[in-house]
């Protein structure tokens, strides 16, 4: 049998697939499963003028905003959960430096499901009564042709690129998911079905035989994937659900540091520009810290 394309590549090579000005979705939700190593690589590469299409974002998008790489943000939430508001996002919006398009959370989710269904828009009533339609021209009123009244029409997410972090996959780009999934993982699966420009970073590359043995868990089959990259602790300081928890100390330190532009620059200088690649980043974080975040029995 002929061997299929090997999609396994390096972090820098994968990051360079994203052009300046691209419309990108970063997977994960709140402080879970964001492809943080990829985000740091994008910062390192200098990628700019991004439109980020998201739903519930945290430090992933906050860092890109703080570094001035985001032109437009389509979203429902940017914040650090228990660590409060996302400081760079807050500052950029207060300074009028970011174009915003915001939606309620389920609507932001449904925009991806709509893309996955191949439809250009969907209808909803849940933002009636709010000021969202008056500040977001992409929320438009339409009539139900069947006579049930007025609705808001909302456009599908339509990302040009989707970047996800997951637990495991093979060199051909198959990606395994846990049987017990939480919302951030299900949202990632939906997002994976919105484009074939899909980059997945994984904790571990496993053998192709292993994937065939876990065929029920192969929920991103390789025909969808453009590139797959092995990045252990690739979501740090966010969690990789079922594998390790979010690094609460690191997130708290980030929230504190990024409260002023100088502190944010210092954070970037240390954790992004001050390291050559992900391995050096992990050395900087330290084995003790990382091992304490890990779950027992979390492996697939």
């Amino acid at each position: 049998m002929l061997e299929p394309d090997i999609k396994l590549t390096g972090l820098a090579e994968a990051a360079r697939l994203i052009p300046n000005g691209a419309r990108v979705h970063f997977g994960g939700m709140a402080v879970h499963n964001h492809p943080m190593a990829f985000v740091r690589q994008l910062l390192w590469e200098g990628t700019r003028d991004l439109t980020v299409v998201s739903h519930v974002s945290a430090n992933d998008v906050d860092m890109l905003i703080g570094a001035g790489r985001v032109r437009r943000l389509e979203f429902s939430y940017v914040g650090l959960e228990e660590f409060g508001t996302a400081p760079c996002f807050r500052r950029a919006v207060q300074d009028g430096e970011l174009e915003l398009s915001e939606y309620s959370e389920p609507v932001a989710f449904e925009r991806f499901a709509c893309s996955a269904r191949g439809m250009p828009f969907f209808t909803t009533r849940e933002m009636f009564g709010t000021d969202l339609p008056s500040v977001n021209p992409d929320i438009r009123e339409i009539d139900d042709p069947f006579g049930s009244g007025r609705y808001h029409a909302v456009r599908a997410a339509e990302p040009e690129w989707v970047v996800l972090h997951a637990a495991a996959g093979d060199r051909y780009g198959n990606v395994l998911f846990f049987p017990h999934r939480q919302l951030p993982e299900d949202l990632d699966l939906t997002a994976s079905r919105t484009t074939r420009n899909l980059i997945v970073t994984v904790e571990q590359i496993v053998s192709h035989e292993r994937v065939r043995e876990s065929a029920y868990c192969n929920l991103i089959p390789r025909f969808r994937t453009t590139a797959i990259v092995e990045v252990p602790y690739g979501a740090h300081p966010c969690s990789c659900l079922h594998v390790y928890d979010q690094d609460r100390k690191h997130l708290a330190a980030y929230a504190m540091a990024a409260r002023d532009p100088e502190g944010f620059r210092t954070h970037l200088a240390r954790f992004v520009y001050g390291v050559r690649g992900h391995d050096e980043y992990l050395e900087l974080i330290g084995a003790t810290t990382l091992s304490r975040l890990r779950h027992v029995g979390g492996a697939l």
Partner: protein
């Protein structure tokens, strides 16, 4: 009168529990910051568990949209995230994919929600988006999150907010959760067919919305506070104090026993009592 032995948090849980009915679906999203987690997450969870033990055995508690009817006596000590190991290891009757819960909400099947905001106004409109002008806000907040649907799709919304003057405004700077939008008929003008806030509950008082004007009105003051305390800490400028304001009913001895012995014996949910 003898000093009641119920804490403010137990009083608040009792108030909420008496708002809840049997055969209802109750939806609680998670919040951020330790004080908000206590007010908006822990107290409603205790209240829902209390109602299930006193009068609502067929109700259904949705925590973070996916942990259903959890065993509150085994609650995790940390509830700082909607996902991850904390909630994921909480014994419950069901864990469901919370994406499906968006559809349950869209079908208007959820009866009661709990919400908070940086600002609430005299008509119960809420703001989690921006303080000041939207395009150049004085303070940018996290975003609408799930608040729009709480106020448009759910049967009724209980607003829980720390009682600080700046949280109560005449008119919110941005409506992310629609209250009565200008008074009687306001919701209908915005295409809303059902729902809306029924109560603003704070750590000092209860406000309800007047039937005729839809204006927030002081309904009761918690034990230990006076009407003057409320006025000093409330930024509303409309006349919201009726001629007589009762004390908020205290939880009964049975309710207190249930909270302390059955619902929260480890004092994880209401640590300060």
């Amino acid at each position: 009168m003898s000093e009641p032995n119920a804490s403010i948090h137990e009083v608040m849980a009792g108030v909420i529990a008496r708002e809840l009915r049997d055969r209802e679906l109750w939806f609680l999203g998670m919040s951020t910051g330790p004080e908000t987690i206590l007010l908006l997450t822990r107290i409603p969870i205790v209240a829902m568990a209390l109602a299930q033990r006193t009068h609502a055995p067929n109700s259904w508690m949705l925590v973070a949209g996916w942990v259903m009817n959890p065993d509150v006596s085994k609650a995790p000590t940390r509830m700082e995230s909607e996902f991850g190991t904390g909630l994921g290891q909480w014994p419950a009757e069901a864990y469901n994919n919370s994406l499906a819960m968006s559809y349950v909400a869209a079908r208007h099947e959820i009866d009661v929600g709990f919400g908070s905001a940086a600002q609430v106004d005299k008509y119960g409109n809420c703001n989690t988006v921006a303080i000041g002008d939207y395009s150049r806000p004085r303070v940018r907040l996290v975003g609408p999150i799930n608040q729009p649907g709480h106020f448009s799709l759910f049967g009724r919304e209980i607003i829980i907010i720390p009682h600080e003057r700046r949280n109560f405004v005449d008119e919110v700077d941005f409506v992310s959760g629609a209250g009565y939008r200008g008074g009687p008929g306001g919701r209908e003008r915005y295409g809303l067919r059902t729902g809306g806030p029924t109560m603003i509950l704070t750590d000092k008082a209860v406000f309800r919305f007047a039937e005729d004007t839809k204006l927030a009105t002081l309904a009761s003051v918690h034990h230990g506070f006076s009407v003057d305390d409320i006025v000093r800490n409330t930024g509303f400028v409309h006349d919201y104090v009726p001629s007589t304001v009762p004390e908020t009913p205290l939880p009964s001895n049975r309710e207190l026993d249930l909270i302390r012995e059955s619902i929260d014996p480890r004092r994880v949910m209401l640590p300060g009592r």
